[in-house]
Subunit: 319 residues, 2 copies
């Protein structure tokens, strides 16, 4: 029997708590770095309500600081992308010579940041397609979906197999992406139009976008921008692969049709008055498109609007 | 001395009251169709505060119905574009065999509607570039600008001279447009980006757009869409003239730089919770572009967002 892998979940909000709980359920030795829910979880454990099976970890390992956790085999970093600058401090103490890092966050370019801090060979990106909300302290509501697509910053197939094995027996559908960069752009092909439109239209759900021919056309136009930028980026880095735009766009529209009154993460942040993940989801892709000379009018317009709406909210917060 | 021309101002909100008062000041025989301000104006007259000179009409002619006014030489129709369907009822009683109509309203295609109702040869479009707000009942605040560019639905030069003569001695800078259709598209080249962005970004002023490189780029992209659609429209109707896009766009950006914290009319409607002129400013141009096969991603996206934001507000109004 192989040695049990130690995992640190950094950023144990809804997403981190959910996936960390699934790893613990599958037998990994998981420690959660917690802030808001720390005392509640110490007192009553961590509860997950999920269509894939409820779960109650009665006494999960929790920590209030990364130093308490120390070096582990795997860091699962599920911070909000807006907290990216806190990564060296929050993740650093958990890194040993053989530690691998799964960046379970939204947006483009985050793995490169981790790579610069900790070494590219140990960095993976996790693309979660899911709907998870926090409930009362110590309670997580997993509402729907849940697959995670994992890529490696150097696209090393052996490393991808290693990452997949972390999730052995976990109640999570894990796939591996031969090209992390392509996977990131493909996910943005959904996030940019739908997170963007749902915010800029005042905080609406995805079904409203799908039901309005003009918004749906706008979503498609933004997707085409993302595909054009993504393929230019793949070409620029010498990748052999490309996004199959027409197929991807039709698949994403068809998928969104099935999603009902889905609230994209950025839209939830917007209506709840929290900072939105503007740089990672919009800023970095727009910047890359710009640097590559790709015209992306719809993507750029949505990004510009979301950034202003984000700034207005922060500026109008009390204190 | 020529016979004094009788003028009916239909839709005496801020814009109608202001320009009607300037015509009365210049000696035209003006009657104002009023609703909200009727009693106040009967009691205390109509007061205009303006950098071009304050003005107080002590006892202007006012009417509560168009039938009271009856046929006139000129109708100046300054209704909100959202009230277009009320035009036959509100304007019709003022139309005699020789009546001319100045459509002093925002947007594309309104003159065609008037032409279908009353005859194309008598219809003019007035493009007001101004900032006027209502104050207390009977008081209008003219804040800045004020020129009116007038075109004729059939582009008849003799009719344009007739329209200009209406404004003789009035404290309004009036120019005439050899092509009404081109003038409308050129004005949309400002209204679509700036009214659209100022609404979709949550209710901001034009200086915020100009100061944000991403929003400014988005404004330029929307302008390019409008120019492309406008020139395709001019070509489709066999017009000999075209919009000089690069020159117009630079001129409009430079002009907007001088405007400070300007609030476009649609943005004022938005923040004050009133219906926005979506069909006239966005819907009609987008529809024409679509029919002509011109791709207008930025214009279409802004129009789609403004329409949803308009619908949300109306739906959320009490009662």
């Amino acid at each position: 029997m192989e040695q049990q892998r130690r995992v640190a979940v950094i950023g144990a909000g809804a997403v981190g708590s959910y996936y960390g709980a699934r790893l613990a359920e599958a037998g990994r030795d998981v420690t959660f770095l917690m802030r808001r829910d720390l005392e509640a979880v110490r007192a009553r454990g961590l509860r997950v309500e999920s269509p894939d099976g409820d779960l109650h970890l009665e006494a999960p390992r929790v920590a209030a600081s990364s130093a308490e956790i120390g070096p582990v085999d795997w860091v699962v970093c599920a911070l909000k992308a807006t907290a990216i600058d806190a990564v060296p401090k929050l993740v650093g103490p958990c890194i040993g010579p053989a530690t691998r890092i799964l960046v379970l966050m939204n947006g483009l370019g985050l793995e490169e940041r981790f790579g610069a801090w900790f070494g590219r060979e140990r960095v993976f990106g996790g693309l979660a397609f899911t709907c998870i909300n926090r409930g009362d302290p110590g309670v997580v509501h997993h509402l729907d979906y849940g697959p995670v697509n994992i890529g490696h910053l150097l696209d090393d197939p052996a490393e991808l197999a290693e990452a997949a094995s972390l999730w052995a027996d976990a109640k999570v559908v894990v796939t591996t992406a031969p090209s992390l960069l392509r996977a990131r752009w493909e996910k943005l092909c959904w996030n940019i139009p739908f997170n963007g439109l749902c915010v800029a239209a005042g905080g609406i759900t995805t079904d409203r976008v799908m039901a309005d021919p003009a918004l749906r056309d706008a979503a498609r136009a933004a997707m085409e921008d993302v595909v054009a930028a993504g393929n230019a980026d793949l070409e620029a880095v010498g990748a052999a692969t490309r996004i199959d735009g027409p197929t991807l766009i039709e698949r994403m529209l068809a998928l969104t049709e099935t999603m009902g009154t889905y609230r994209p993460s950025t839209m939830i942040d917007f209506v709840e008055g929290r900072p939105m993940e503007v740089d990672a989801i919009f800023g970095a892709p727009i910047e890359r498109a710009h640097a590559l000379g790709v015209a992306t009018p719809s993507m750029s317009l949505l990004g510009a609007l979301v950034r202003v709406l984000d700034g207005s909210r922060i500026a109008s917060e009390p204190g």
